[in-house]
């Protein structure tokens, strides 16, 4: 068993990392925002997908399970699922429409995080700058900085996902 303490803002980078680990024979067992636990096994035995769940999370996961997808773990709106790599290439979304719907959900999720952190940065900085001499000041300053960092880091995957969606939409429109 191997543990890693790290975190990702871009779910695609996270998925890539998990799949690279799988190629090295380390298979994800648990994932939390700052913590990953792997089990040792055969090299490249599984292909993993990191999924943003739709509203009816349980229903969706049950459906995936009924098609032979293994639900490894989940938290909040995300699930980590896998399939043996000896089966066919494992993709959850196979056509333009469902890929675009999925990208839209991810964009909404990023936007939500973006706005929350943006507001948090503004509020914490205003407390930091306008209430002088209180000891909580420094905490507000720090939280403000962290939120700003998250806002900056969120910007790139947000833009990337948006561009991917647009490219798909253009290609799709061409065939209509």
């Amino acid at each position: 068993m191997k543990r890693y303490f790290r975190t990702f803002i871009d779910y695609e980078k996270e998925e890539q990392w998990i799949n690279t680990q799988s190629l090295k024979g380390l298979h994800l067992k648990r994932a939390l925002p700052f913590y990953y636990q792997f089990e040792e096994g055969n090299l490249g035995e599984y292909i993993y997908r990191v999924v943003l769940l739709p509203k009816d999370r349980e229903d969706y996961l049950e459906f995936l399970a009924s098609t032979g997808v293994e639900i490894v773990c989940k938290y909040y709106k995300w699930a980590y699922v896998r399939k043996k790599s000896e089966d066919d290439p494992f993709e959850l979304y196979s056509d333009h429409t469902s890929k675009i719907t999925n990208y839209n959900q991810i964009i909404l999720f990023y936007m939500f995080m973006f706005i929350i952190n943006f507001l948090s940065a503004i509020m914490n900085f205003s407390i930091f700058f306008f209430t002088k001499g209180e000891s909580v000041n420094n905490v507000n300053g720090l939280v403000g900085l962290l939120s700003t960092l998250v806002v900056i880091l969120l910007f790139f995957p947000l833009l990337k996902t948006y561009n991917k969606k647009n490219a798909l939409q253009k290609e799709h429109g061409f065939f209509l």
Binding site: V51, P54, Y60, E62, F63, L64, A65, S66, T67, G68, V69, D88, P89, E91, L92, Y93, S94, D95, T97, S98, T101, N102
Partner: protein
Amino acid sequence: MSQEHAPLTEGVYYMLLALYEPRHGYGIMQFTEEMSNGRVKLGAGTIYGAIKSLLKKKWINTYVEDGRKKEYIITDLGKEIVELEVARLKELYLNGQYMLNQGDL
């Protein structure tokens, strides 16, 4: 022929064909792959979304709910849609053949 319905996607077309007999999600996947000789492989997420929207349009119905594995079946409306689509595809196919063979079917 009326243009009341947009052309079906390959995925939806095969899903409707699959549901002339009651099938669950995995059954739909297998049917589609076999019928298309492995060319059309539907993702589980794609099928899930499509089932939801087909149920809403009443093109398919829930057949039995046997715990985890729900089965679905095509409705009369769904069959009508398939018939229209087959007629549309036939027109496309015949016209294509006609042009390829320089006016000789």
